[in-house]
């Protein structure tokens, strides 16, 4: 593979968006979690819930801040590296992303500020209302991102004038049937991600014998929420598969590593797809299951990649493996959450150390599922950037040189490695130290500086830092 601006730009976009997506996804789930636990406190009056809430709030703040900063980088990527895409589809993608920016800002300027600064300044009911609005706001923010991406997957409601793809029907662009499946799929993924993190944090405390009360709340609530959400997610995952089969059959064939047209089609459970020779190595297959998965009966004909011209085929290896990883993560979440609730029902949840270890170690399952799910969707869409309308290789900024993109890619890798690992380290430290009572009030901080909360909430590294100032 030769390094040219195209491949480097693709790597760069994949890199910066992978680092970006984990924060908003975590934030969406945590916002819903904060609203849930604050609601529980309001109803029961239990101060334990308040301690759990105060513990997760700064983590939410850091994650939100990281999402904003990595999001600013995203706002410029379309123009810097994908200039032709920006010009050809800007009149559709631009307003969608613009609305996302508007939503995020409104959130930051209003109810998020109440959350961070105002428990004592507003009534408990209004505080809870603010929590709900923040949760809704983060969901609404993701709505626009998914609307934009769904339109790139299955473009609807546009016309082409002078080679530019311009809007004809905003209703179809924003509320298309694909969006109505993919947005819930993403939201549920975010809920699961945070639910697993909450449960894993609780398990961690119980294993270490610290913060027992808070740990118990996190473990029970986390496992219960995941147990409820995961079947719904499997259903929406199924609907997502249906849209892919209907609108992007080449992607479907790539996910299934199905090279030839088959009737009935076998299901390749696991294999190493060999793209050069159009075959699967070390394949474990189940006869007829492929037809059942795609069409619901054991005899249907399913199309393979051979039905598509070579230049229209997506890569196979990444969608195939990423999809299986995603499904695997879903099955782990299903197993952990249902088993956990079974143990809880029999009163053995907190005494089963092996299970607590399993729960603790499955904290990254949601993140892995989100990333691999996105890789499946995005790599599977190739060679198109806007499916069927604009090829990725035709979308790049023409003036870019290999050195430009190589420079920016290296700089992003270094900066993100420093900055994001720093942020993740802070979140880790907050998680490790556990609840520490009331979150302290901080002067001079507005909601647009969530990192300030982290810098001051985290216990002092060198205790003399404050006295020396």
């Amino acid at each position: 593979m030769e390094l040219d601006p195209l491949i480097l730009s693709r790597i760069q976009f994949g890199f910066v968006i992978s680092f970006h997506i984990i924060f908003p996804a975590f934030t969406i789930g945590l916002a819903a979690w904060l609203a849930t636990i604050e609601g529980a406190r309001l109803v029961t009056g239990n101060t334990l819930y308040r301690r759990v809430f105060d513990f997760w709030l700064p983590i939410f703040a850091v994650s939100f801040g990281m999402g904003v900063v990595t999001g600013i980088v995203m706002a410029f990527q379309f123009g810097t590296n994908w200039g032709v895409l920006a010009v050809k589809t800007g009149s559709i993608q631009g307003p969608l992303l613009g609305y996302e920016g508007f939503t995020a800002f409104m959130l930051e300027a209003t109810f998020f500020g109440v959350l961070l600064l105002g428990r004592d300044r507003v009534s408990p009911r209004f505080y809870f209302f603010s929590c709900c609005m923040v949760a809704l706001g983060t969901m609404f923010s993701s709505f626009w991102i998914l609307a934009n991406n769904s339109w790139m997957q299955v473009p609807l409601g546009h016309t082409i004038v002078d080679g530019k793809i311009i809007p004809a029907d905003w209703m179809q662009i924003v509320l298309g049937p694909v969006q109505m499946v993919r947005w819930p799929h993403m939201l549920l993924a975010a809920f699961l991600t945070s639910g697993m993190c909450v449960a894993a944090t609780g398990a961690w405390y119980l294993l270490r014998g610290v913060h027992r009360d808070e740990g118990r709340v996190m473990l029970h609530w986390g496992l219960a929420l995941v147990a409820v959400v995961i079947p719904i997610q499997l259903f929406f995952g199924h609907l997502t598969g249906e849209y892919v089969l209907k609108h992007q059959p080449a992607k479907f064939a790539a996910i299934e590593a199905r090279w030839k047209n088959e009737q009935p089609a076998k299901e390749v459970l696991i294999a190493i797809p060999d793209e050069a020779n159009e075959r699967n190595l070390f394949a474990i297959t189940v006869p007829e299951l492929g037809s059942f998965i795609a069409s619901g009966n054991f005899t249907a004909a399913e199309i393979g990649l051979e039905s598509f011209p070579r230049e229209d085929r997506p890569p196979v290896l990444i969608p195939f493996l990423a999809f299986r990883l995603m499904v695997g993560m879903g099955l782990i979440m299903l197993a952990v959450s249902w088993l956990g609730n079974l143990l809880r029902w029999r009163g053995k949840l907190e005494s089963s150390r092996w299970f607590l270890w399993g729960t603790f170690l499955s904290f990254p399952t949601g993140f892995v599922a989100i990333l691999t799910g996105w890789y499946t969707a995005e790599v599977g869409r190739q060679p198109w950037v806007v499916y069927g309308l604009l090829r990725t290789r035709d979308a790049i900024t023409p003036a870019l040189t290999t050195n430009d993109v190589l420079t920016s890619l290296i700089v992003y890798i270094v900066v993100y490695w420093l900055f994001v690992s720093f942020g993740i380290y802070y979140i880790y430290k907050l998680l490790r130290d556990g609840p520490r009572g009331e979150a302290m009030a901080i002067a001079n901080v507005t909601a647009s500086r969530p990192l300030a909360i982290a810098a001051r909430t985290e216990p002092a590294v060198d205790a003399d830092a404050r006295s020396k100032r």
Binding site: G83, V84, S91, M106, T397, T401, A443, L451, R469
Partner: protein, 335 residues
């Protein structure tokens, strides 16, 4: 909609973006300026006090940068694509500078041992951001080559002697603005310290602008000559006002008038900006793409309009509200 007669919606969005850029330049300019001046002292008391003058404001100021970026993409996608392509490396420096600056701001308190690193990050981040913005202005004045609605130049076109001068000019221009802000927001030693620097900064800005003008007449003929200032000599009113404001800043500093001194630094930035506006109009990308030819179809402008009329006033009110809440002089010890 045509090239010569942009639609009202296109004019509305062009105005939104123009105003957003101005607000951004003034607001982020003053806190970048404080960051630049931060590097010129080693006195920890001064440094802390300086940080406190911008603590509640600096991050919100960057909201305007997002409004500009997202707004251009949505309403003038061609301009967005050409700018981002033409300023690929400067934009990278800008983003990295802003990220480092942000982290340094929050985390320098956390560590005594590592503080020198955060401090260097804060100063260098601020300086680099100011420089690339100034260089971009210089590059715009020289004109951006465009073919097929895409940038048609090379990676380092923006780094030309003329734009290097405008880059350095903006570093000192922002530092001047920052010094005005410090004077407005502080008392005692730091205020005196900032007052001492204002005269020098104003003189340096004046000299650099003079040098840039000379370069544009000699080595780099065209940067100013090709502008529309020639057909609109009335635009020179703004240039004269800018020079007068610069002189006024020095006088204000001599008279120790805090409010007046800061206000005149803002007037200097405002009138310089208006001068550029007269030079460029009706071009959005000088001198190849006009407002009318770059605008997205009205269907897009209209769609975003509904959100914009709600959100933009809220952003403006929110910004004003934060400045109002944290008005007045800051105490050295508050943080």
């Amino acid at each position: 909609m045509s090239e010569l007669h942009p639609s009202n919606l296109a004019l509305f969005w062009a105005a939104v973006i123009a105003v957003s850029i101005l607000v951004y330049v003034i607001l982020d300019g003053l806190d970048l300026g404080v960051g630049i001046l931060f590097g010129s002292t080693r006195d920890e008391d001064h440094r802390l006090h300086m940080m406190n003058t911008i603590a509640p404001f600096w991050d919100g100021n960057e909201t305007w940068l997002v409004v500009i970026g997202a707004g251009l993409f949505a309403t003038f996608p061609v301009v967005y694509a050409v700018f981002m392509g033409a300023f690929y490396l400067p934009l990278l420096l800008l983003l990295v500078g802003l990220i480092f600056r942000g982290i340094a701001f929050e985390f320098r308190y956390r560590s005594v041992r590592m503080r020198w690193l955060w401090d260097a990050g804060f100063f260098l981040g601020s300086t680099v951001v100011a420089f690339v913005q100034g260089a971009a202005v210089g590059a715009l004045m020289r004109g951006i080559p465009v073919a097929n609605e895409q940038f048609a130049g090379t990676s380092f076109d923006w780094l030309h002697p003329f734009s290097v001068l405008t880059g350095i000019g903006l570093v000192f221009g922002y530092a001047l603005l920052g010094a005005g802000w410090i004077v407005l927001k502080s008392e005692g030693e730091l205020r005196d310290w900032a007052y001492k620097r204002i005269g020098w900064l104003a003189a340096i800005v004046f000299v650099i602008l003079g040098m840039a003008f000379t370069v544009s007449l000699t080595v780099d003929v065209g940067a100013v000559a090709q502008s529309h200032l020639r057909e609109r000599p009335w635009g020179l009113v703004f240039t004269v006002a800018a020079i007068a404001a610069l002189g006024g800043v020095v006088m204000g500093a001599r008279a120790r008038r805090d409010g007046l001194t800061f206000a005149l630094t803002v007037v200097f930035i405002l009138t310089s900006y208006l001068t550029l506006g007269v030079m460029f109009w009706p071009y959005m990308v000088p001198y190849s793409i006009t407002v009318g030819s770059a605008a997205a179809p009205d269907a897009s402008l209209q769609f975003l309009f509904y959100g914009g009329v709600v959100v933009l006033p809220v952003i403006a009110l929110y910004t004003a509200g934060v400045y109002w809440v944290f008005r007045g002089k800051v105490q050295r010890e508050s943080n």
